[in-house]
Symmetry: C2
Subunit: 360 residues, 2 copies
Amino acid sequence: MNEPVSVPTLVGVAAAAGVSRATASRALSGYGRVGAKTAAHVQKIADELGYIPNQTAQAMRHGRTKTLGLVIISNFTNAYFDRATKAIVDAAAESGFQVLVSNTAENLGAEREAVTHLLEKQVDGLIVVPVPIGSHEHLLTPALRNTPIVLFDRKADGVNASTFTTDDLTSCAAAIEYAVSLGHRDIGCLVRVAGIPAVTSVQPDGIISSIMGRINGIKHGAAAATLPANSVQWRFVPASLEVAQSGVEQLLDSPHPPTFIFTSNNDMLLAVLAVAQKRGLVIGQNLSIVTVDDSPWAQVLGGGLTVVARPVEKLAAEAVAELLRQIEHPDGISHDVVLPTELLIRQSVVDLRHGIHPAS
Amino acid sequence: MNEPVSVPTLVGVAAAAGVSRATASRALSGYGRVGAKTAAHVQKIADELGYIPNQTAQAMRHGRTKTLGLVIISNFTNAYFDRATKAIVDAAAESGFQVLVSNTAENLGAEREAVTHLLEKQVDGLIVVPVPIGSHEHLLTPALRNTPIVLFDRKADGVNASTFTTDDLTSCAAAIEYAVSLGHRDIGCLVRVAGIPAVTSVQPDGIISSIMGRINGIKHGAAAATLPANSVQWRFVPASLEVAQSGVEQLLDSPHPPTFIFTSNNDMLLAVLAVAQKRGLVIGQNLSIVTVDDSPWAQVLGGGLTVVARPVEKLAAEAVAELLRQIEHPDGISHDVVLPTELLIRQSVVDLRHGIHPAS
DNA sequence: GTGAAAGCGCTAACAA
DNA sequence: TTGTTAGCGCTTTCAC
């Protein structure tokens, strides 16, 4: 039950095949010149012995681990980063790379520590979703020892790396214009912001780039639709479902309660759904809503929620491709990729002009 | 812009500190005896140089990579495995281990390949969610070269490893009994099964252990509630939302349409929600439902869905703990951990006896 | 076409 | 307490 299986190594294969380690290595890694017969023979022996190359030793030799490090906030109520993780892992696998995954829980210290561990493990490159607040010296070239890095989903102040983000602005603006075009005049915006203590209606400083895009989109949309400034009510809320719900309630209890609520992500949507349920409001009937990020749930809920959909799989694939390119050709040139988003119109915004669903 | 930063190594630190590599190593890794002053001095130099130990080289020396391999089906509509991934990564991090994540997409070949890659990377241990069909020789000790392995969420035929599963049977049975106690007599069961071509009402062979638990739970519950056999209608469906929906429609169009539908996972739930919406059925009013696996969406949907909740974080933590234990003490003893589940009663099952919600 | 030998960065006997 | 040295498993000049 407990007898250790001997682990076949290259020397073992070489010995069994009656050749030198060098020849065995050449035969198995397919470099240099080896006699066709020798190669086949070595290969056969290796298979028989169940030889698996020791990637650690290989890495030591040529300084490449074929491993990527992913530092991500893992918020599992947020399908976005789960999809991103999967897409990154899959894209890497296609190129023969494995991925070491670390969570930061939006905590700067955890991010720094994760990067260090990944560097110790000699990852060939890093994909980081930077935490929204604090300073990121640990992501600069000196700290990184030339390890290529790309930023995913957001930019980080002062970090000069390629970034992979989405154009949330355009579709968020479109969402507002769409709602206004259907007759909505009282609009509520529920925006999740890291690092604030409580709900506030005044926009805090230091908001991360991705969220800023959404906020600006809303403003642009409102301007384009020539909405008066006081038509749009804001609630910026910290990361807590309860607090988010109180933000929704504030909105609904205001003198001009919104007929349409825009939520900055799925967590905020969940808060709206909870309060709506409590008050007997039905999405797509007496409350309209658009959120950022599609999900299987959003597709089904209330006949389908209208959403701003971000192409996360594509973004992930491009981020990995760029990282691999930089690993091959470390030219230090960084650029910003911004992928378009899409307003997916479904059933969650009521047509106030006729009292019917736009899509029915 | 492109000047390579020199990567400080142990020799560099030793040289700069004017000591031998051995002393430097002792000072930094804290083994053997070093003079307190020397240690402090070396440490200081190392910090100045920004020295980071090369974990690859360390791994070469003592044959431990401090890395775990996770082979998981990554189905991002299924929050369960995302939560599991996060919990595993976090638990490992707490013990100083990083995790290499691979997806199998429920594909045996991908699983085999992932395990090989992970073995090449010399992971200290493996956590595998085995794909539901096929034979798993690649998970046996000889193939694994003594690398400890634990199975997560399901058992795999012929693999003698510790398993970490949940007692779905008890809570699924309780769910049925609960529904019957509220007056439901026509019960539909929608069960997702891997590897079948189309919807069927007869139970296929070769169903994976976790799903069998749920099926048996339903049967036990029905028996305990002394329901006549024909009260329970089954639909086993493959992995496709459209096909699942047709399964739901078959149920609803049958001579005795169910008033209560039990779904084996969130994907099946989504199918029911889609059809219900299409037909104007409201969950918790004219259609009752219980599903397996809680989620933030289920908590909010329709005032809260009654679910069979599985303790995935706890399960993950225990699986990691056991794997680490086996890495420390490879005794080859395997055991099966089965954690209890819980029927979380919320609002999605109508009380047919009085026509009101049980919890209102 | 094949072998001998050096060495990637580190740690652990063994000496001193 | 500290230094010397060997070697983990592999690849890669350099000779032959």
